[in-house]
Amino acid sequence: MTSTAAGPTYRAPRRLGGGGPRQDNSRQIATRERGRTLRATVFLAPALAVIIAFVFVPAVLALRLSFTDASGFGEASWIGLENYVTVFSDPATVRAIVNTILYAAMYGPLVIAVGLCAALLLNRKDVPLRGFFRTIIFLPFIISMAVASLAWAFLLDPNLGLIPYWLGGLGIRMGDVFASTTWALPAVTAVAIWKSFGYFMVIFLAGLQGIPRYLYEAAILDGAGAWRQFRAVTLPGLRSTMTFVIVFAIIGAFQAFDQIYIMTQGGPDRATETIVYRIYTDGFRDFRMGFASALSYVLLAITLLLGLIQLRVGTKRERDLE
């Protein structure tokens, strides 16, 4: 639900109750301002209380925990940077970080490409049953990742599944993807792409509708073919949509958990362990809460860094366009 233009295009609301007398003296202005601040505080307080209690405070606590050997039981002692040293020196943890990056590197470009493809097909005015297709393609977004994972685990099961059976009919022999250290990570990524490309499609459709028709007409007059129209009109027209979508895809990718928990439990041989999966298993199965907190801060740092870079690049691109 993030939006890219949030910071830069923020407009201060105009002063309310503009019809008031002009010759306010400064005391009246100050009183009025205090009144507004008081009212705003009352409106903000309940939500801010929840956010302070369950985002701010935990963020500080997580930082403190990450320097301890907390297990969730008994006293925890301060161990300095040891957890962070372990994060970057333990091969299994490094593997989880690398897996997460690989996952994001597959998920991001593919979910965007597939979503854009579907949007381009559905954006044509002459397509019959547009509403039907839109509804069906968006459907996976409503379904829980847990259920989607079950369904795909079944569909891909080498002994029971329809997909190996159908592919077998075409002469393609497919082994157990979830047991393959090479294919398990692409397979869980594919399920995530299946689940969310409809969401990206809808965002792209909204973006496509914002591109003025006359640009295409001008391009056609200049003799541009379909590919050239796409390069010269569609892609530049989707610039701000792209920024939003890339941030969203990256943030989503770094939070991968459900399908891994259901389909592979991190296996085979840690091939599908991700950062969040490790936060879960380290923190809540193995009770290494200090270590899990250090991993959390690594996740936090990566997400913030990527988000900020993309926001900056994106807004710069938008500015260049103007």
Binding site: T4, A151, L160
Partner: protein, 272 residues
């Protein structure tokens, strides 16, 4: 003409890909286990049966966990609607000192993945004695930055004249909020509500951590434990039945409001 049929063919491929797993769940739920475990696999069941649902209710307290899901997702949605819209109103329509500072901090927070805070939140909830309670599931989610942000973006677009007129008539802040801003912001409120309901109904990690007692656990987490490696061979037919129970209410809700929902998603993505 050729071109159009190409486009339709492409869309049919997309539609088939997205609906195949859903069809498999629906058909599998009504298939006898022998069908589910047969090779070559049967796409269409040889006979329709409810035995998977019987197997499901024997293993999982489905009705109880469905109502847990309903209460959990429903209460989170209701409280988020109230708290987020109040906060968004203040940020969008009251000009007070510190507004920009608060808003900037909230934007920064929006990028913090909640998974990164799981361990301390769990410890806090645990210290409060809220593990395995509705309060533990709901209160940490009673308000959220993304929801405030979405509503604020929408509230800001509503014309000022609406509330100035009311103010001249002597309406107070709460009255402007309740009878001017909220009725005009229905699409945004509906979108936020659907996002929250769907997101929490489907959520796995949070209920998995916050509940260990199966009687307070929401359905998605309850079913996930059914598939856990601990149980050995996965009873696919039963899991399909459970999956159907878990998705049916959302799919029905979605089909009823799909137009609004899709528009709302497009809006949240695009409204700057």
């Amino acid at each position: 003409m050729l071109r159009q049929s190409g486009v339709v063919a492409g869309l049919l491929v997309f539609a088939a890909l997205t609906s195949l797993p859903v069809l498999v769940v629906v058909l599998g739920a009504f298939s006898p286990e022998s069908d589910v475990l047969s090779w070559p696999p049967n796409f269409i069941p040889s006979r329709f049966t409810l035995e998977n649902f019987e197997g499901l209710t024997a293993r999982v307290p489905v009705l109880l966990q469905s109502s847990n899901s309903l209460v959990f997702a429903g209460v989170v949605t209701a409280s988020a609607l109230v708290l987020n819209s109040l906060a968004a109103y203040a940020l969008a329509r009251i000009e007070f000192r510190g507004r920009i500072a608060i808003f900037t901090v909230l934007i920064a927070i929006m990028m913090v993945p909640f998974q990164a805070l799981l361990v301390p939140i769990y410890q806090m909830v645990s210290a409060l004695g809220w593990v395995n309670t509705l309060a533990g599931l709901v209160i940490p989610r009673a308000a959220d930055v993304a929801g405030i942000f979405l509503l604020r973006q929408f509230f800001i677009t509503l014309p000022r004249d609406l509330d100035s007129a009311a103010r001249i008539d002597g309406a107070g802040e709460l009255r402007v909020f309740w009878s001017i801003v909220l009725p005009n912001a229905k699409p945004a409120l509906l979108t936020m509500a659907l996002f929250h309901f769907v997101g929490n109904w489907n959520d796995l990690l949070w209920p998995l951590i916050m509940t260990s007692d199966s009687s307070v656990r929401p359905l998605t987490a309850g079913l996930a434990l059914l598939t856990g490696s601990a149980t050995g061979v996965a009873p696919y037919g039963v899991m399909m039945a459970g999956s159907l129970v878990a998705i049916a209410p959302l799919v029905v809700l979605y089909l009823i409001v799909q137009r609004r929902f899709i528009e709302g998603v497009a809006m949240t993505g695009m409204k700057g």
